[in-house]
C-alpha cells in the first residue's frame, strides 16, 4: 500500500480527500451551531422533566406514551436503512448503491442511538434503568426490545466501522499537523490497519458475516416493536397484523429519508452518485 501512495497522482487524490477533514466551511459551522442549540434546548427540557416529573410533557393517563414513543418508532424505522442499503444491496451485488452505503450506515447508527436515548427519556424512573437487567422478565416485550436494540446497535456500529478502517488508516497516515489526541484517536480506531492481503481477506469475511446477520436482526427489531404495541388492549393496536402492517410502512419511510439525506448532502457538498 505504501508504494501506491507514493505516486504523484495518488498523493493529489489523498490530499483532496483529507482536506475536508481538516478544514470546514462556513455552512458546516453554521449547521453545527444550529444543531448544538437544538441539543442544548433538549438537555434543558430534560432537566426540567427530571426536576418536575413527566407532568411537564402534558401526557396523561389516557395518552401515556405520546410523542416519545412515536419518535422511538420513527427512529427504529429509520435505523433499518443502514442494514437495508449496506447489506441487502451489497449482497445482491448492486454496485450503484456503494456511494450510498456510508451515509446509510451513519444514519443507522445515529438513529438507533436516538431510539435508545428516547426510551430512557420516556421512563418515569430513569434512575432505575438497571432494574431492566437485575429484575428483567423475558416475558415482557420491553425486555425483548432492549435486547434487540442493543444487538442492533452493536451490529450497526461494526457495519459502519469495518468498511471505514482503510479510510481511518489514511487519516492516521496522511493527516499531519493535527493535535496529538486526534492522532492517537485515529491510531486507536483504525485498529492497526495496514492493508495487507490477510487483513483485506479478514475484513471481507467479517463484513459478509455481518451483512447477513443484520437482516434477521432488522426484521426482529421491527416486528418486536410493532408487536409490543399489539400486546396491549388499545383499539387499533390489538392485532397480530401489526407486525406485517408496520414493516412495509417503515421500509418506505426509511428509503424516503435516505433520498432526502442524499439530496441535502448533494446540495452542501460535491457528493455525486456514480
Amino acid at each position: 500500500m505504501e508504494s501506491i501512495l507514493k505516486t504523484k497522482e495518488n498523493q493529489q487524490i489523498l490530499n483532496d480527500l483529507t482536506t475536508p477533514v481538516l478544514k470546514s466551511g462556513r455552512n458546516f459551522k453554521f449547521l453545527m451551531l444550529v444543531l448544538s442549540i437544538v441539543i442544548a434546548l433538549g438537555i434543558f427540557a430534560y432537566y426540567k422533566q427530571l426536576k418536575h416529573g413527566l407532568i411537564v410533557t402534558a401526557m396523561r393517563d389516557y395518552t401515556s406514551w405520546g410523542i416519545y414513543i412515536s419518535n422511538f418508532v420513527f427512529f427504529v424505522a429509520v435505523s433499518l436503512v443502514g442494514s437495508l442499503i449496506s447489506s441487502i444491496l451489497k449482497l445482491a451485488n448492486a454496485k450503484w448503491s456503494y456511494p450510498l452505503t456510508r451515509i446509510a450506515e451513519m444514519v443507522a447508527v445515529a438513529s438507533i442511538i436516538c431510539a435508545s436515548i428516547i426510551i430512557i427519556v420516556d421512563m418515569g424512573r430513569p434512575d432505575r434503568f438497571f432494574h431492566v437487567i437485575t429484575h428483567g422478565r423475558i416475558q415482557s416485550p420491553i425486555i425483548w426490545d432492549v435486547i434487540v436494540i442493543i444487538t442492533y446497535l452493536v451490529i450497526s456500529i461494526l457495519l459502519l466501522l469495518l468498511p471505514l478502517l482503510p479510510d481511518l488508516a489514511i487519516c492516521r497516515d496522511q493527516l499531519n499537523g493535527i493535535p496529538q489526541w486526534k492522532k492517537r484517536l485515529y491510531k486507536a480506531i483504525s485498529l492497526n490497519w495496514k492493508g495487507s492481503p490477510i487483513q483485506q481477506k479478514r475484513l471481507h469475511r467479517a463484513s459478509s458475516i455481518l451483512e447477513i446477520m443484520v437482516i434477521p436482526v432488522a426484521f426482529a427489531i421491527h416486528t418486536i416493536t410493532s408487536w409490543l404495541f399489539a400486546t396491549t388492549w388499545r383499539p387499533g393496536w390489538d392485532s397480530t397484523n401489526l407486525g406485517p402492517i408496520l414493516f412495509p410502512g417503515l421500509l418506505c419511510l426509511e428509503q424516503q429519508l435516505l433520498l432526502l439525506q442524499c439530496t441535502l448532502f448533494e446540495g452542501i457538498s460535491t457528493f455525486r452518485t456514480i
Binding site: G53, G124, R125, H131, V132, H135, G136, S140, W233
Partner: protein, 299 residues
C-alpha cells in the same frame, strides 16, 4: 414498644409491665409527640387509660407514644397474599347516586391528590333512549391480568388472594401496564406526589401504596393492610348508599358494612356481570345491573 424518654426509668418500667401503652392506643387514645418530653414540667396533663385487667389508670400524657400494631409488611411478604382468601367486590349500580364518599375515603387512606383518584365514578349511558347511571370503577384485580404480563421488571404482580399489587420501589415507570390495562384502572404519578400527611403514610409497603413516588404507577389495591386486620376497605364502609360489597369468594359471602349476603345468590338473583367479560381478563369485581332504581338520575 420503644420509649425514648430515658429520664424516668421507674415510671417507664411500670408502664411497660402493665402494658398500658399498647392498650391506650387500642382504645384510640391520641398519641403525643415525644418532642414535648424535653420541655416537660411537673404539672403536665394526665390521661386515663384502661389496663387489660380492666383497671382505670392515670398516666401523664407525654409518657404516651403511639405504636403500630401492624407494621406494614415487607415488599417480599406482600407478594404472597393472605392465605386461603380470594377477595371479591360487588358494585350495585342500582344504588349508586354519585355521592363520591368512596372516592374521598380512598383519597384519605392512600394520601392521594384529587387529580389522581383510584376510584372513578363515571356517568354511563348505554344508548340514547335509556337513562344514564353512575358506575364506580376501580382496578378489577383480574385473575388473568394483562398488566402483570407486560411488566418488564415484575414490579406489578398477582397474589394468591387474587389481589394485583404494585411495588413502586421496583417500578421503572415505563407505563406499559397502563397501556395494557383495558379498564384504564391505573394512574401514573406524572408530577410530585402529595406530601406525607401523617405517620400512617410514612412507611412504604406495596400493601398500602403509600407514600407515592414520582414517576411510578399506582392503582386501587383493595387495601390489604385493612384486610390483614380483618377490616373492610375504607371505600366500602364510607359509601352511604350501600353500593359496594366486599368479601371472600371462598366463604361465598360479601358485605356492604350493613348487610351480609351470599355472593353466589346475589349474583344469581340480580344477574351480576363483569365488565368486558369477552376480553378474558377474569375480573374479581362484579356489577349488578342498574335496574329498579329508587331515585332519578341527577348530575
Amino acid at each position: 414498644m420503644k420509649m425514648q424518654n430515658k429520664r424516668n426509668k421507674s415510671r417507664r418500667k411500670f408502664l411497660q409491665s402493665s402494658g398500658i401503652i399498647g392498650v391506650s392506643t387500642l382504645l384510640g387514645v391520641q398519641a403525643f409527640p415525644l418532642s414535648s418530653c424535653s420541655k416537660k414540667t411537673e404539672s403536665s396533663q394526665t390521661i386515663k387509660v384502661l389496663t387489660p385487667e380492666g383497671k382505670l389508670m392515670e398516666v401523664e400524657a407525654d409518657q404516651l407514644q403511639e405504636i403500630h400494631h401492624h407494621k406494614p409488611v415487607s415488599n417480599k411478604e406482600s407478594r404472597k397474599g393472605i392465605p386461603g382468601k380470594k377477595f371479591v367486590m360487588v358494585v350495585d349500580l342500582a344504588k349508586c347516586k354519585n355521592a363520591r364518599e368512596c372516592v374521598k375515603a380512598c383519597e384519605a387512606h392512600h394520601n392521594l391528590p384529587p387529580d389522581r383518584p383510584f376510584i372513578k365514578v363515571l356517568k354511563i349511558q348505554d344508548n340514547p333512549h335509556s337513562s344514564p347511571y353512575w358506575m364506580p370503577k376501580k382496578c378489577f384485580q383480574c385473575d388473568n391480568p394483562p398488566c402483570v404480563k407486560v411488566c418488564p421488571v415484575g414490579a406489578t404482580f398477582k397474589r394468591s388472594d387474587g389481589i394485583v399489587l404494585i411495588d413502586n420501589q421496583l417500578c421503572i415507570g415505563c407505563r406499559f401496564c397502563m397501556a395494557a390495562c383495558p379498564y384504564s384502572a391505573r394512574v401514573f404519578n406524572w408530577g410530585k406526589p402529595k406530601p406525607i400527611g401523617n405517620s400512617k403514610h410514612a412507611h412504604y409497603s406495596p400493601e398500602t401504596s403509600t407514600p407515592s413516588q414520582v414517576g411510578t404507577v399506582e392503582k386501587c389495591d383493595f387495601c390489604p393492610d385493612h384486610l390483614r386486620e380483618g377490616k373492610l376497605p375504607p371505600c366500602i364502609t364510607a359509601c352511604p348508599n350501600g353500593v359496594l360489597y366486599f368479601g371472600d369468594a371462598n366463604e361465598d359471602a360479601v358485605t356492604n358494612g350493613v348487610d351480609t349476603v351470599r355472593l353466589s345468590k346475589l349474583l344469581k338473583d340480580k344477574a351480576g356481570y363483569r365488565y368486558l367479560e369477552e376480553l378474558g381478563t377474569e375480573p374479581n369485581v362484579y356489577y349488578l345491573p342498574p335496574v329498579d332504581r329508587l331515585f332519578p338520575f341527577k348530575e
